[in-house]
Amino acid sequence: MPNVTLRLFTLFRTVAGVEEIKQETPPGVTIYHVLCLAAERLGPAFRDLIWDKETGRILPFLIGVKGKIEPSTGGILNEVVEDGAVLILMDPVGGGL
């Protein structure tokens, strides 16, 4: 089973309580599926950072993979993850005062 590392920042880290988790995944899964597996493991508070509670739509946050950072609401969730991939999750904190 391939292994994927999720490296967590900002609110993802606060809610998960850890900096990173390793997730076993079946071969050929997409990033979307990895997030589903992680949410199952980390619980509803984590899930609520990824999916809108009412509509079920993906919320806007940032995902980093293979050196690029992309918004969650683009096509990146459909990308197939490779064994050993590192996914970075960050939420889009506004401001900067």
Binding site: F9, T10, L11, R13, T14, V15, D48, L49, L59, P60, F61, L62, G64, G67, K68, I69, E70, P71, T73, G74, I88, M90, D91, P92, V93, G94, G95, G96, L97
Partner: protein
């Protein structure tokens, strides 16, 4: 209620030379055309200041102004602004802070307070509703901002008064000294120095009056809906309450756009040590909010151990973490908190102070400044002791601090020897903690702005979160104008940037319109509000053009135009001059500015009713 809801209908004028005060009536026309905040500031200063005056001379003025929503419970309506001709840039400058000062000014019955003239001796002024008194401040001169506020509250027996004051840095005319109320800083641009030049130590405000709206039931319905949406939004309801603005630090680094060692690079290898997550774990003892704000993004920090043990700080915010942290090569949150606290006490803008110190550090490391020239300090990046010592010298204008208190651009010019390319300034203002190289639209929004190196005109958020592609040029003039209109209206309303996630982060929206109308009863349509934003923006531009600003001054810092980011996810990105010129052409066309000079055209000024600007710029 005045003609429109939310307004007091009048300004207070303080003549420090003659120790007299008077009332200036707000007109319906000015309220409707300029709304409040920066609109009031630029209208007053454009009309009342002559071009070419010395910002630190007696002819300059400082305007404290709020908007119609301050004093109501509109979410984030605790903010207000300070407006003046900046001693750092020589241009119109606006600076804002949260807390409670703006609302208290409204409760005292004033939409704004104009400070003019120059006192021979230190003075402070009390404004208790309509009762205004000038008082001797010689016992306060030299005191830091916290001491000043404490003494005044005790002496005046007014524990709930709101006090805007300057610290020793303002008294010493440090060009980036700020105005402080509570622990909030109207940080940028040097308003503290302008007040210091007038020997004006503090403005004490206490009010007992109401701020009325035309339909309280409708107002409550709109506000309740706003609060619920703020709490439901992941950014304002979870991320900001949890980590505050420091949560941005790791995001910036992951994108490869965190200013490091005077912007030599944009990846900081020790970012984890200065992250919002680390701050929450190590130092945060309490969350705090401004008046009328449900977000509670401010973090109160306490340093429990180590060389800075005992430091209590309101903050540090992300900008300060960048300025004293990564950009100075420092990986200690505790030191950053100490520096932040010192800056608040002295009344220094943390962004400019950090940037000036990082400029000096690079000059030292590159041999442009010798150890003797920096008073024997070992001014290498990362030296915490040297950083704190230099901060104090700047505040007091001692030794090399006297040179650096002039700001990075002026200091670089005086040093020569190639130092100019290490002064990372735009229009004389030291760059804030966001990357023009890594955010193309933000870069354009910054160089075409009134203030220059500020992150509060063109905004970085839309590109940073991926709503707009940060690496491409297409659509960026439109993006820059949209974000500038947004910030202009936010600043005339004096609402917080944290509402971006709810009200919109790329342009003015119906949300802004609904709030303005439910408070004022003006019944404005969205195009009229866009016109207000354009009117304010163009009058600010006219102010600067009257001072000699032209197209050739709309440029990036030398480093950003000539040095690509050397590493990380944004490697290779920079701001080529030819790219900026191409973007400016399109931007000027959309704005209605002359392509050769950058001056708003007669047609643009006429459309916006700015006849005074036509008179001055087209003699």
């Amino acid at each position: 209620m005045w003609i429109y809801g939310g307004y007091a209908g009048k300004f207070l004028r303080l003549d420090l030379t003659n120790k007299k005060h008077s009332t200036v009536q707000l007109t319906k026309e000015v309220a409707r055309q300029f709304l409040g905040g920066n609109g009031f500031g630029v209208k007053i200063l454009y009309d009342e200041l002559k071009p070419g005056i010395d910002p630190l001379g007696p002819e300059n003025k400082v305007v404290f102004a709020a908007g119609p929503i301050q004093g109501t419970m509109v979410p984030t309506a605790g903010r207000s602004g300070v407006f003046t001709k900046s001693p750092l840039t020589g241009y119109f400058f606006d600076s804002y802070a949260g807390g409670c000062f703006g609302p208290e000014m409204k409760y005292a019955g004033w939409d704004g307070i104009i400070v003019e003239g120059q006192s021979k001796t230190p003075v402070y002024v009390t404004v208790f509703d309509d009762k205004v008194e000038f008082k001797d401040a010689s016992h306060l001169w030299g005191k830091n901002t916290f001491e000043t506020q404490e003494i005044l509250r005790k002496d005046l027996k007014e524990p709930n008064a709101q006090i805007a004051c300057i610290g020793p840095a303002g008294e010493k005319l440090v060009r980036f000294a700020c105005t402080i109320w509570g622990a909030r800083a109207a940080g940028r641009g040097g308003s503290g120095a302008v007040l210091g030049s007038k020997k004006f130590k503090a403005l004490v405000v206490r009010g007992t009056q109401d701020v009325e709206v035309p339909n309280i039931e409708e107002f409550q319905r709109v506000i309740t809906d706003q609060i619920e949406r703020i709490k439901a939004n992941p950014g304002t309801g979870k991320a900001l309450p949890s980590l505050g603005t420091p949560g941005v630090t790791t995001t910036q680094n992951q994108l490869g756009i965190l200013g490091t060692r005077n912007w030599q690079t944009e990846v900081f290898e020790e970012v984890e040590k200065i992250s919002g997550e680390a701050m929450r774990a190590k130092m945060v003892v309490r969350d705090r909010g401004c008046m009328a704000c449900p977000i509670y993004c401010t973090k109160l920090s306490y340093v429990k151990a180590g060389p800075y043990a005992g430091t209590f700080d309101e903050g540090p915010e992300y900008e300060t973490i960048f300025a004293y942290g990564s950009n100075c090569g420092v990986a200690s949150l505790e030191m950053i908190a100490k520096a932040d606290r010192m800056s608040d006490e002295y009344g220094l803008d943390t962004i400019s102070t950090g940037a000036v110190i990082s400029f000096a550090m690079e000059c030292y490391e590159k041999g442009i400044l010798s150890k003797e020239e920096v008073d024997g300090l070992d001014l290498r990046f990362g030296n915490e002791t040297a950083l704190l010592q230099l901060l104090e010298k700047i505040a007091k204008r001692e030794g090399v601090g006297d040179l650096l208190a002039e700001g990075a651009a002026r200091a670089a010019k005086k040093i020569g020897r190639g130092a100019e390319k290490y002064a990372v300034t735009i229009k004389g203002l030291e760059n804030a903690g966001h990357s023009p190289r890594g955010l193309k639209g933000y870069s354009l929004g910054m160089i075409t702005s009134t203030r220059g190196g500020s992150h509060q005109d063109g905004r970085p958020t839309g590109e940073r979160i991926g709503k707009v592609d940060r690496k491409t040029l297409e659509g960026k003039p439109e993006y820059a104008i949209g974000t500038q209109r947004l910030t202009t209206i936010q600043d005339s309303m004096c609402v917080c940037r944290m509402t971006e996630g709810i009200y919109g982060l790329i342009d003015i929206t119906n949300e802004h319109m609904n709030i303005i109308n439910v408070v004022t009863g003006m019944g404005l349509k969205l195009p009229e509000i866009v016109d207000i934003a354009d009117r304010i923006w163009n009058l600010e531009r006219a102010f600067n053009c009257r001072e000699g600003h032209r197209r050739e001054h709309d440029v990036q810092a030398i480093r950003f135009m000539t040095e690509p980011i050397p590493e990380g996810p944004s490697k290779g990105m920079y701001c080529p001059p030819e790219e900026l010129e191409m973007l400016k052409d399109k931007y000027y066309e959309l704005r209605g500015w002359d392509k050769k000079t950058g001056i708003p055209t007669k047609e643009t000024l006429s459309r916006l009713g700015l006849t005074e600007a036509i008179r001055d710029l087209y003699k």
